[in-house]
């Protein structure tokens, strides 16, 4: 373990890459930089798999998202803490050593809604994705990968405890 690093965040210079301006509702507040909106693309609400995100069990969420069930595979990898520092911010990193991956889904089995996040992976995009999710309580977290039309999964139990520090 290295002790010397005091958690230095990235150099500020790198951070300055950010941002044209915001569009949409924010446009009233901030004038958008010319053409920023058109370059940025526009996410479409219509493609949202709302039914999959409304399910409250693993089986129902899988059925709604994929219409099939996965086989366990050690080629699907997930890194998540054994004990979450805070259930509201649990870092989860997924990866898959599988060909033609088209979708990766992350489910928190004992959350009010099972499906936490899902990603469409176009050709050329890596299967390694890191994000942060909320866990309502101690739960199994499952990562499902769709590879060449078949489903593979792995899971891990993440413990969520109450913090003591108010």
């Amino acid at each position: 373990m290295k002790h010397a690093d005091q958690s230095k965040p990235r150099s500020p210079r790198r951070r300055e890459v950010l941002a044209g301006a915001a569009a949409g509702t924010a446009a009233m507040l901030i004038p958008p930089v010319a053409s920023a909106a058109s370059d940025a693309g526009a996410a479409q609400a219509s493609i949202y798999p709302a039914r999959a995100f409304a399910q409250t069990s693993e089986a129902a969420a899988l059925q709604a998202m994929f219409g099939k069930t996965p086989a366990h595979s050690s080629e699907v990898r997930m890194s998540a803490p054994d004990i979450a520092e805070n259930g509201a911010v649990v870092p989860v990193a997924v990866d898959a050593n599988l060909p033609d991956v088209t979708t990766i889904a992350i489910m928190a089995i004992d959350n009010p809604f099972t499906m936490a996040a899902a990603y469409k992976i176009p050709a050329g995009t890596s299967t390694a994705i890191s994000s942060r999710i909320k866990l309502a309580k101690t739960t199994k977290v499952v990562t499902v990968v769709e590879s060449a039309g078949k489903l593979y999964s792995t899971s891990k139990q993440v413990k969520v405890t109450l913090g003591g520090c108010g």
Partner: protein, 278 residues
């Protein structure tokens, strides 16, 4: 056993004060830092600014992932904008501080000989606002935390240097802060030291208790539990409530003095704020 050891350590800490009745911040500093260095020989002095993260590999790993893109980044950007904005009279915060307010956070809290009181960086920001015809900001969160995040970021890595001058009022403020730190309070009858000296590095339910040494260095910070930024004084209020004691006012002498004592005990450590904690 640990408690006995600690009681001994606390006794050893105060002989100077007992002998002359005059507060002796320099010997306190040596004893305070020496206590932690002896108890946790594997953790070097500067690493104490990492708070709980040298005590748990798993928490450290999660923190590292959070710090990849720190959650206080929005506050930092906002704080910079606020700090650089002109007041209605055309002046700005920079004019109120040495070096234009850049890279000075390591010298706060500071004793102000004119008023005979301790001034935290937040209180100095509010003084600046009042001097320029603006209202005070809340000292706990919101825009104040954002401004402090920016100012502290410009001090990142600089050595904390809160030297208590040989002035009776400064020494009295220091002593009052020390007294506060070691006094038990609230229904649960805990002192600051109960958790952050005696139980430092141990678990309180799911959290690892941060050692008092270096604890101020990461403020203001983004706490996942809060979902936003908070200042040191916000944390004081939270800790007081947690032991079921009535918190003091954010700009009270009690909290100024506590911040003064506590920060001075981290003299020589680097500023590591703004930070992120669970």
């Amino acid at each position: 056993m640990k408690f006995a050891y600690l009681a001994l350590a606390l006794l050893v800490m105060t002989p100077g004060a007992l002998a002359s009745n005059k507060p002796d911040p320099a010997s306190d500093l040596k004893a305070f830092q020496g206590y932690f260095l002896k108890r946790f020989p594997k953790i070097p002095l500067a690493a104490y600014v990492n708070g709980p993260y040298d005590f748990s590999k798993s928490e450290r790993a999660q923190w590292k992932q959070i710090m990849e893109f720190p959650p206080y980044q929005f506050a930092l950007d906002h704080g910079r904008k606020l700090f650089e904005a002109k007041f209605p009279n055309g002046k700005s915060y920079a004019a109120c501080f040495p070096h234009g307010g850049i890279g000075i956070a390591q010298n706060y809290p500071m004793f102000d000989p004119k008023t005979g009181r301790v001034v935290t960086l937040g209180i100095a920001v509010n003084r600046c606002r009042v001097a320029n015809g603006l209202g005070k900001l809340k000292l706990t969160t919101g825009p104040m935390a954002d401004i402090l995040a920016y100012m502290t970021d410009t001090s990142r890595g600089k050595t904390i240097d809160v030297t208590v001058p040989d002035n009776p009022k400064a020494l009295a403020a220091y002593q009052a802060g020390k007294q506060y730190f070691y006094s038990r309070r609230g229904q649960l009858n805990f002192s600051c030291a109960s958790c952050h000296v005696q139980a430092a590095g141990m678990h309180l339910r799911g959290n690892v208790l941060a050692p008092a040494l270096g604890i101020t260095a990461s403020f203001p910070l983004y706490r996942s539990k809060w979902g936003n930024m908070g200042t040191l004084v916000r944390r004081f209020i939270g800790c007081n409530k947690k032991v079921r004691s009535v918190p003091d006012k954010p700009d009270s002498a009690a909290y100024r003095d506590l911040a003064y004592f506590l920060t001075s005990m981290s003299d020589g450590l680097p500023i590591a704020g703004p930070g992120a904690r669970p």
